[in-house]
């Protein structure tokens, strides 16, 4: 029998981590029985390793949003997350410009057409809301669909709409994710978010309209985003999504049908 192989530190790690065969294991155990200091060190390492495994054991779980995480990855929308500061800045600018125009406009210029009209602001706000919120995986809305009644009452109250309807788009394959309160042209507005089976999202924006003018369906398109919008008396509506114009139009028409006139 040849002289015993020297025990290296790598052997000790491999022993702890269970990468040694029976023969090697016996060799290390023999070594440890003769070297209590090393045995104590290994016992510590072993305890630490067990504590680490225990600490993270319950983290290896599936979550409900996993499907949409995978389905949505690689599409352009999630990338917008990285552009969030830019988008936030552009929203701020929009508001700042609106506020400044609203504040100084009447005094500086007698001609009020310098202000952006509501029908110009509405699709812009809808697009921004979509860009900011639709890419949120975990917090896309404030109130989730499970509390749909509360959502409708709450937002209805904030927008001073007697009976705010949350459109039902199931017939078109989109189910409600939820909604949130957000500023539209500087006033309280509502956003509803919907999602289809692949995690593709669309948003529906409702805002108070100061112009008080009716419009027919209008259409705006920027990058790959399509927006349909219309103004119905004192409320403005906009539907935004990264889907075909034809399909978005069907969604917009469905919303129009369901929103009270």
């Amino acid at each position: 029998m040849s002289a015993p192989k020297p025990v290296t530190e790598a052997d000790l790690h491999a022993y702890i981590d269970g990468f040694l065969d029976t023969e090697e294991t016996l060799r290390i155990e023999q070594f440890l029985s003769e070297n209590p200091d090393f045995a104590a060190m290994l016992a510590d390492w072993q305890n630490d390793s067990a504590a680490l495994r225990a600490a993270f054991a319950d983290k290896a779980v599936s979550r409900p949003e996993d499907t949409s995480l995978v389905a949505r990855a690689g599409k352009p929308i999630p990338n917008n997350r990285r552009r969030l500061p830019a988008i936030a800045a552009s929203i701020l600018l929009t508001f700042a410009a609106g506020a400044l125009a609203g504040h100084f406009g009447p005094r500086l210029w007698t001609a009020p057409q310098i202000e952006l009209s509501y029908s110009e602001i509405l699709p812009q706000e809808s697009k921004n809301a979509f860009l900011v919120y639709a890419s949120e995986v975990r917090h896309p809305v404030e109130v989730f669909a499970a509390e749909e009644t509360h959502l409708a009452t709450w937002l209805g109250k904030r927008l001073a709409i007697d009976k705010l309807t949350v459109p039902d788009l199931k017939s078109l394959g989109f189910k409600l994710v939820g909604g949130r309160l957000l500023p539209v042209d500087g006033r309280a507005g509502a956003m509803f978010m919907y999602e289809d089976g692949t995690g593709q999202r669309i948003t529906v924006l409702v805002g108070r309209n100061a112009d008080n003018r009716n419009t027919s369906f209008r259409f705006a398109s920027a990058d790959k985003l399509e927006t349909f919008y219309w103004i119905d008396n004192d409320l403005g509506y906009a539907v935004t999504g990264e889907i075909s114009r034809d399909f978005l139009r069907r969604i917009a028409e469905e919303c129009y049908r369901q929103f009270p006139s």
Binding site: F19, L52, A55, A73
Partner: protein, 159 residues
């Protein structure tokens, strides 16, 4: 990909300081994996996803070192009572982990928590086997050292 998410979620959490940071890392990783799917050159797909997550994490830690920020949620992160039976113990463990440099922490987690072999880690991180062993050793020893220090409780009597 979907089947890998639980393990990747555990790995992302074991590298970061909070659930929030972990989920962000996971999301970035999934994004990258699916966008770069065409660049996968055979071998274990799982290892490839681990490599992407490791690189994303190391890159972001490097960026953080250049532009240090204190995460808002850091105050809540140290207290995670659900992790082990003893909340104090788990807080101590997490605090000790956060002192280990990311290069060592990744190796420790890949081996101890994720169960990769030394050879797999060497291939995954594209470093020599000897470097894997020395990083593992550094990580184990500094974790132990940190925990030992933390274990000393000084009692003082008011005079």
């Amino acid at each position: 990909m979907l089947a890998l998410l639980p393990a990747l979620r555990r790995y992302s959490r074991s590298l970061t300081r909070s659930d929030t940071e972990g989920e962000d890392l996971l999301q970035d990783c999934v994004e990258k994996v699916l966008v770069n799917g065409a660049q996968w050159r055979g071998g274990s797909f799982k290892s490839w996803t681990y490599r992407i997550m490791t690189n994303l994490h190391l890159n972001s830690r490097r960026a953080q070192r250049r532009h240090p920020t204190v995460p808002i949620e850091i105050a809540e992160t140290t207290a995670e009572p659900e992790m082990t039976a003893d909340p104090l113990e788990s807080r101590r463990l997490m605090a000790a982990l956060d002192t280990i440099a990311p290069e060592f922490r990744t190796v420790l987690m890949l081996i101890v928590v994720e169960g990769h072999s030394y050879q797999e880690v060497a291939e995954l991180l594209e470093i020599p086997l000897g470097t894997v062993m020395s990083r593992l050793s550094r990580a184990r020893n500094s974790l132990r050292e940190k925990l030992r220090q933390e274990n000393v409780i000084q009692l003082r009597r008011p005079r």
